[in-house]
C-alpha cells in the first residue's frame, strides 16, 4: 500500500453535487425571492448595517455587517452592497475549501465550519459583496436571514424590498399562439400565401421573393410590391416581429429547439451575421443573372408554404429542404435566422428605420447575478460578457427577432420596449 491510497483530497471530503435539473426548469426556472435595492430612495442612514450587524455579531457594529453602505460624496448617491445570490455565483467555484453552496431555496450560503476566512470569495465577486470584518477578520455574507431579511424590515425609506419579482411570463403564450395560427393559415389553409403575389387571392409577397422577381424579370409589378410594403411597414413599426411571431419556418425551428436542448455549436468561422446579407446578394444577383428566382426554389419558408398541393417540379426534393435546414437548430438556436436567412436580411435592413427598440435598463438590471435574458435569447444578441462585467448591453435591433423572451423573463422590470428616440426608461442612468 502506498501513501497515495490513504490520501484524501477535497473531491472526496466535499464532493460537488451533480447538477440536477428539475423537469420544471426545462420550461421555466424556479423563481426565488431576493432583495432588491432602490438607490433613489436610499438616504444613507445606515440602519440596514446596524441591524444586520446585530445578527452577525450580537452587538451593534456597522462595520461587521453583511451589507455595506457606500456613499459617494461627489455624486451624492448611496448604495447598499449586499450579496445578490447570483444564479451562477462566481464565489462558489472560487472557494478553496468549497464552503459556499447554493441551496434549493436559491440562497448562497457560506458554511462557517469550512470557511477559513481567506477572502477569495470577495476577490471573485464582481461586486465584492462578502465583507471582511476589520475586527474579527471573519467574512460576512448576506444569507437573506434564512428567508426573512432584517434589513428589509428596518429600512426607514423602504429602499430594500424582498420580492420574487414580477416576470411577465404571458408573452410566450401569445407568441406560441400567434406562431401556431400563422402556421395554420400560411401553410395549411391558404397555400402559397407567403410567396408570391397573385391577384384575386389572399397573398403577401415575400420581400426577398419580390426582389428576386424584379431582378429576374426586369419588371415591377406595382401591386405585388405594395403588398410587400405591408410587411416592411410592420417591420418599421415593430422590428422583425415577423421573424419571431409569424414566420412558419421559425415556428418549426422553435419546435425543434424544444426537443434538442443540448447544442453542439458552430465552428467560429461560420458564425458571422453578415453571411445572410451575402445570401441575399447572391439570391438577387443570381436571379438577375439566371433569369429565374434562384433562392425561392430552395427557400425553407417557401417550401413550407407551397408544399401542400402547389404544382412544383421539385416537389419531392423540396420536402427534404425543410428538415435539412431545420436540423441546423442542433448547432445553435435559430442559426438559420442568425446566419443564413435572406428574408431576415431584408427585414434586418428595413429595421434600420425602426421606431421601437428593446432596452435593458442599467439601474434595474441585476447584471452578473441574473443573466437570464442572455440565456433565453434565441438569436444570442444580448452580450452576456458585458453583463458579467457589470454593464447593461445594447441590443442590436437589426438582429432582434422581437420574440420578447427577454422581456417575458426579466424579474426586475429592466428589459422593456421603448420608442427609438426615448433616451432610456424613466429613472435610468447611463448604460
Amino acid at each position: 500500500m502506498t501513501e497515495q491510497d490513504f490520501s484524501l483530497n477535497l473531491e472526496d471530503l466535499r464532493p460537488r453535487p451533480a447538477e440536477k435539473k428539475h423537469l420544471s426548469e426545462y420550461f421555466m426556472p424556479p423563481r426565488h425571492s431576493f432583495i432588491i435595492f432602490h438607490p433613489d430612495k436610499c438616504t444613507g442612514c445606515g440602519a440596514c448595517e446596524m441591524i444586520c450587524s446585530t445578527r452577525n455579531t450580537g452587538k451593534v457594529a456597522p462595520v461587521s455587517a453583511s451589507v455595506k453602505v457606500i456613499r459617494d460624496e461627489k455624486e451624492g448617491k448611496n448604495f447598499s452592497i449586499l450579496c445578490q445570490h447570483c444564479r451562477k455565483p462566481l464565489c462558489l467555484p472560487a472557494c478553496p475549501t468549497r464552503a459556499i453552496e447554493k441551496g434549493d431555496d436559491g440562497i448562497v450560503r457560506i458554511d462557517k465550519l469550512f470557511c477559513t476566512q481567506c477572502g477569495i470569495c470577495a476577490m471573485a465577486c464582481p461586486a465584492a459583496a462578502p465583507i471582511k470584518d476589520p475586527c474579527s477578520q471573519e467574512i460576512h455574507k448576506c444569507d437573506l436571514c434564512e428567508g426573512d431579511p432584517l434589513c428589509v424590515k428596518h429600512c426607514p425609506e423602504n429602499a430594500l424590498t424582498f420580492t420574487r419579482g414580477k416576470a411577465l411570463r404571458w408573452i410566450k403564450g401569445l407568441r406560441w399562439t400567434s406562431q401556431f395560427i400563422s402556421f395554420l393559415l400560411l401553410v395549411v389553409v391558404f397555400i402559397g400565401t407567403f410567396c408570391y403575389f397573385r391577384t384575386g387571392s389572399i397573398s403577401f409577397a415575400c420581400p426577398t421573393g419580390t426582389l428576386q422577381n424584379i431582378a429576374s424579370s426586369g419588371t415591377i409589378v406595382l401591386v405585388g410590391v405594395s403588398s410587400t410594403l405591408a410587411l416592411l411597414i410592420l417591420t418599421v413599426l415593430a422590428g422583425r416581429l415577423f421573424c419571431g411571431w409569424v414566420c412558419p419556418f421559425g415556428f418549426v425551428l422553435d419546435l425543434v429547439d424544444k426537443v434538442t436542448p443540448k447544442k453542439i455549436g458552430w465552428p467560429s468561422f461560420l458564425k458571422s451575421r453578415m453571411t445572410k446579407y451575402g445570401v441575399l446578394t447572391g439570391a438577387v444577383g443570381g436571379s438577375y443573372a439566371l433569369g429565374f428566382q434562384v433562392f425561392c426554389t430552395v427557400c425553407p419558408i417557401g417550401t413550407l408554404c407551397r408544399s401542400y398541393g402547389v404544382q412544383s417540379f421539385f416537389k419531392s426534393a423540396e420536402l427534404a429542404i425543410v428538415p435539412a435546414l431545420a436540423s441546423l437548430e442542433i448547432a445553435q438556436r435559430r442559426s438559420w435566422c442568425r446566419y443564413f436567412c435572406p428574408v431576415g436580411a431584408v427585414l434586418g435592413l428595413t429595421a434600420l428605420l425602426r421606431m421601437i427598440k428593446i432596452i435593458i435598463g442599467a439601474k434595474k438590471c441585476k447584471k452578473f447575478s441574473c443573466i437570464q435574458c442572455a440565456e433565453v435569447c434565441p438569436v444570442g444578441i444580448i452580450d452576456a460578457d458585458k453583463l458579467r462585467e457589470g454593464l447593461s448591453p445594447k441590443i442590436p435591433m437589426t438582429e432582434c427577432i422581437m420574440c420578447m423572451r427577454c422581456i417575458d423573463r426579466c424579474p426586475y422590470d429592466a428589459a422593456k420596449i421603448r420608442f427609438r428616440w426615448q433616451k432610456a426608461a424613466p429613472g435610468e442612468g447611463r448604460t
Binding site: C45, V60, V63, G76
Partner: protein, 428 residues
C-alpha cells in the same frame, strides 16, 4: 436600582498632548445616573481639567437604535462667546466614536508639533500631521486616507484654523458642521489638526431597542411634518429661509440622513459652475452636502444666486459661513466674493469677532425652528441624551420619556433617569 443600560463603552479617553500620552479611565454608573451624558456629562468632566481643555462626548443613546442617534457634543470654553459652549456634531461622528471604543474624549495641553489623533479599539494614538498644514480640507482628507490606517469618520480643521482665524469652523469630513463657537481655532492653538475615528468595534445593545425604534418611526411617519423633509423643509422655517431656498434649484438633489435618522434634514445638491479665477471656460460639476441651515441662510442673504460656489469655498477653507457672510456685502459678483474669501485667509487674522448679530443656542448653529423655553428645553434634552436636536425639534411626539425608555428597564429606572435629566438640564 441603577440597572438601566445606556449604550456606553463605559470609557473616557484622556489625551495629554503636551506629554503625548493617552490613557483610558472608566466611566462609572454613578456618574451616569448623576449627569446622564452628553453636554451635562461634558461639563462635569470639564470641571476636572484646566480651562483650555476640550471634551468630545456622546450621550447614552448615541449609536443605538433610538432614531437620529447620531450626536457628538464638543464642550469647551469658547473665546467667541466667552462662556462654555456645547457644539453638536451629527452625521456619523457620535456613533463612530462609540464604535472606536470610548464614550468621552478629553484633550488637554498643547502638542509640540502639528498632530492628528486616531482613536480605535479603545486606544488613542497621536500621528504627525505637519504635511496637512494649509491644505484644503478635501485634499487633506484624501492625504489622510492614503497614508493612514482605516477610519470611518474624521473631524478636521482647515487652513482657516491653521491661520488662526477666530471664526474658523471644524468640519465633519468635507461637509462643514454647526460649529460657530470657534472650536477650530482652539484646536489649532493646541496644534491639533483633527480626530480620526476608526469605528470598527461593536457595543452590546438592548434587545427591545430595534422594535422600539421601529414603533417610534411609525408614530413619526403619521406626523404631518414627516413628508416635508430635506434641507429646504428646515430652511424655510428660518428668517429669510424661503428666499434663500430659491437658489437651491441645482441640477440634482438627494436627501441625505444622518445615522439612523428616519427623516433627513440634509440635502446633497449637484451643480455646475465656472470658476472665474480659472482660465478654462468649461463648467465643472460639483456636489455639496448642505447641513448648516443658519449658515446657508446668512450667506445666501448676501451673495444670492452665487451661494453654492461661495459656500463651497468656505467649506474648503474651514470657515463658518455665517461669520463670512458678515464680512461680505450684497450685490457682488462671484469673482468678488471668492476673492474676498481668499483675502480672509491670506490677511492677518482678526483678533476678535463681533457676535452681536448671531444667536447660537449653546454655541452651535442650530436652526431655531421653535421658540423660547421649549426650544431650549428640547435642545438640552437632545444634547444630554445624544440624539439629534433638529430631529427632536421637528417632531413633538418624541418626549424625554419615550427616549429614556430605550435605556431604562423598569418604571423605577425611568423616574431615576428623569430626575437625573432635569437636574442635568438645569446645570446647563
Amino acid at each position: 436600582m441603577n440597572s438601566f443600560q445606556p449604550f456606553y463603552n463605559r470609557k473616557i479617553g484622556v489625551v495629554d498632548l503636551s506629554a503625548s500620552k493617552a490613557e483610558v479611565i472608566p466611566l462609572v454608573q454613578k456618574q451616569v445616573s448623576r449627569h446622564i451624558g452628553g453636554a451635562a456629562m461634558n461639563s462635569a468632566i470639564l470641571e476636572g481639567y484646566q480651562d483650555d481643555a476640550l471634551v468630545f462626548g456622546t450621550g447614552p443613546l448615541t449609536g443605538s437604535f433610538a432614531p437620529a442617534s447620531s450626536l457628538m457634543i464638543a464642550s469647551f470654553a469658547s473665546l467667541v462667546f466667552n462662556s462654555i459652549c456645547h457644539v453638536p456634531f451629527m452625521l456619523r461622528t457620535g456613533p463612530d466614536m462609540k464604535f472606536s471604543g470610548i464614550d468621552y474624549l478629553v484633550v488637554k495641553g498643547t502638542a509640540p508639533e502639528r498632530s492628528i489623533l486616531h482613536v480605535n479599539h479603545g486606544k488613542i494614538r497621536t500621528l504627525p500631521a505637519g504635511n496637512l498644514q494649509h491644505m484644503h480640507i478635501p485634499e487633506a482628507i484624501r492625504e489622510l486616507k492614503k497614508a493612514s490606517p482605516l477610519f470611518q469618520s474624521v473631524i478636521i480643521t482647515g487652513p482657516a484654523a491653521d491661520r488662526g482665524i477666530p471664526f474658523a469652523s471644524v468640519s465633519i469630513g468635507t461637509n462643514g458642521s454647526l460649529d460657530k463657537a470657534g472650536l477650530a481655532s482652539l484646536m489649532a492653538a493646541k496644534n491639533l489638526k483633527g480626530i480620526m475615528l476608526g469605528g470598527t468595534e461593536g457595543l452590546p445593545f438592548n434587545r427591545d431597542n430595534p422594535q422600539q425604534g421601529k414603533e417610534l418611526e411609525k408614530i413619526i411617519s403619521t406626523d404631518k411634518n414627516f413628508k416635508h423633509r430635506g434641507f429646504y423643509s428646515v430652511l424655510k422655517k428660518l428668517e429669510g429661509g424661503e428666499e434663500a431656498g430659491k437658489f437651491l434649484k441645482a441640477s440634482g438633489e438627494k436627501d441625505m440622513a444622518c445615522y439612523h435618522c428616519p427623516s433627513p434634514c440634509m440635502t446633497h445638491v449637484r451643480y455646475s459652475w465656472h470658476d472665474p479665477r480659472k482660465k478654462e471656460m468649461q463648467n465643472s460639476k460639483e456636489g455639496l452636502l448642505l447641513l448648516d441651515h443658519t449658515g446657508y441662510a446668512a450667506l445666501a442673504e448676501k451673495v444670492g444666486k452665487n451661494i453654492l460656489p461661495v459656500l463651497r469655498a468656505c467649506l474648503h477653507y474651514g470657515l463658518d459661513p455665517a461669520a463670512v457672510a458678515e464680512k461680505l456685502s450684497e450685490g457682488g459678483t462671484m469673482l468678488e466674493y471668492l476673492n474676498a474669501i481668499d483675502k480672509i485667509i491670506s490677511d492677518n487674522p482678526p483678533q476678535t469677532t463681533d457676535v452681536s448679530q448671531r444667536q447660537c443656542l449653546f454655541g452651535g448653529g442650530l436652526p431655531p425652528i421653535l421658540t423660547g423655553d421649549v426650544l431650549e428645553k428640547k435642545v438640552a434634552i437632545a444634547m444630554i441624551l445624544g440624539v439629534c436636536p433638529i430631529f427632536l425639534l421637528r417632531f413633538a411626539q418624541i418626549t424625554d420619556a419615550t427616549l429614556l425608555s430605550f435605556i431604562s428597564t423598569s418604571e423605577e429606572d425611568l423616574t431615576t433617569l428623569q430626575e437625573g435629566l432635569s437636574s442635568a438640564i438645569s446645570s446647563l
